[in-house]
Each structure stands twice: as C-alpha cells, then as structure tokens.
C-alpha cells in the first residue's frame, strides 16, 4: 500500500472538517425550520439554544417581522451549509497530480459567489436588524448572530484563487499542446 503524502493527509483532514461543518450547518438549518414551524402552532418561543436568541416578544408584536427574521436565519444557515458542501465536493474531486481543471475553476467561482451572497444577505440583515426587532438588545444579538464580516474578504480571496486556477488551466493546456 502506497504511503500517503503530506498533501493527501491534509486533504483528508480538510474533507472531514468540511463534511462535519456541512452536517453542523444543515442541522442548524433544520432545527431553525422545525422550531419556526412549531412556534406557529404552539405558544413556545423560538429560541436558539446555541446563540440565546429569544424571539418570543417579536413573535407577539409583529408576526411578519418575526417570520422575516427567522427566514433570514434559516437562509443564512442553509447557505453556509451549501458552501461547506461545495467545499467538501472540491476536496473530494481534486486530483493532486493534476489539480488545474476547468471543473475546479468553476467550482471555486461558484463558492466565491455563494460566500459573497452570504455577506450581502448578512449585511442587509444587520442594516435592518433594528427595524426587524424593534428592540435595541435583540437587534444587537441579531447583528452578532448574522455577523458575516470576514465573508467579503473570503469571497474576494477565493475569486482570485479561482482566476489563478483558470490561468493555470490555460497554461497547462498550452503546455500539453506544445509539441
């Protein structure tokens, strides 16, 4: 059995982390969804047991804003799960011997767009957090939860990496077609 190289070991670890993160955010998304649906039919508050976000008062004051807030939380969690799923897909498909393929380039671009979209959504949510919650304390908690500050930088960085990959594919193709 051929011993694993350092790169392959790192990729295996990253794949595991990506899968775990995907499972984590998927569970968060499903949990939010279930709690929201349950809150419609019962008087139990929608409470995020991890982030201590209690939206009971908001639900009683304005159900539309409550729905909007919860929808934003669900969509953000879902998008994060999608990003991690795509990341694990890249790690699985990448071939160490020949990493520069158009498929990898496109996958990286898609992830960068997803991360950019997460940032935009988080920015909108943070901008309208006070309008959504009508409470300063809750608005602050919501802003903290929807913090996506590093995502813009990540999206930019990943996009640059995807363009480097694209150039790598072009150079590789030229090299392969040089007789």
């Amino acid at each position: 059995m051929k011993p694993k190289t350092k790169t392959e070991t790192v990729l295996t670890i990253l794949k595991t982390i990506a899968l775990l993160a995907f499972i984590f955010y998927s569970n968060i998304c499903v949990m939010y969804l279930v709690l929201f649906v349950a809150s419609i039919f019962t008087t139990q508050p929608f409470s995020n047991i991890f982030m201590e976000l209690n939206l009971l008062e908001l639900k009683d004051q304005n159900f539309l804003k409550y729905t909007l807030t919860v929808t934003l939380l669900i969509v953000l969690a879902a998008l994060k799960a999608i990003v991690w799923y795509r990341a694990s897909g890249i790690i699985q498909k990448i071939k160490v011997e020949n990493p520069f393929t158009m498929e990898m380039t496109r996958r990286l671009e898609k992830i960068s767009y997803s991360i950019l979209f997460i940032w935009i959504l988080g920015y909108i949510a943070r901008t309208f957090s006070f309008w959504l919650t009508n409470q300063r304390g809750l608005a602050e908690s919501l802003r903290e939860q929807m913090s996506t500050e590093g995502f813009l930088f990540m999206a930019g960085l990943l996009f640059i990496v995807s363009q480097i990959f694209r150039r790598g594919v072009e150079l590789q193709s030229e090299n392969e077609l040089t007789v």
Binding site: E174, L177, T178, V179
Partner: protein, 66 residues
C-alpha cells in the same frame, strides 16, 4: 489559427507514414497527430529541427502563414 501545418503534405511527398516519422523524430504518435491535425498551440525548435531533418525539408514547407 493563422499558422497552418502542412505536415501531411510533406509526409505524402516523402512517402513517410506517421508511425515511421514518429520513430525517426522520437516524438509520440499522439503529439504528431496533434501537430498534423492543427491542434498544436506551439512547437519547439528541437521538434521542428527533427521533423525537417527526417523529411529533408525547410520549416517553411511545414509551416505556412495564411
């Protein structure tokens, strides 16, 4: 592409097959095929020299600008 490769024309004139040329110039059949079908993006001088020597011709006989 503006550069046309007339390798098949020279091969026909010299009555050399692709296999024979591949053995003479020590280039794989797939690479020669890439060159012959016009898919090549670049050619090394060493390759051009080897082909010209094998087919007893000038580079201008193999490459043409249209």
């Amino acid at each position: 592409m503006a550069i046309v490769v007339n390798l098949d024309v020279m091969m026909a004139r010299r009555k050399v097959s692709l296999n024979e040329l591949s053995e003479k110039v020590n280039i794989t059949l797939s690479n020669l095929s890439i060159l012959k079908t016009g898919k090549a993006k670049a050619i090394r001088f060493s390759t051009l020299e080897a082909i010209c020597e094998a087919l007893d011709c000038q580079p201008g006989d193999i490459l043409e600008y249209t």
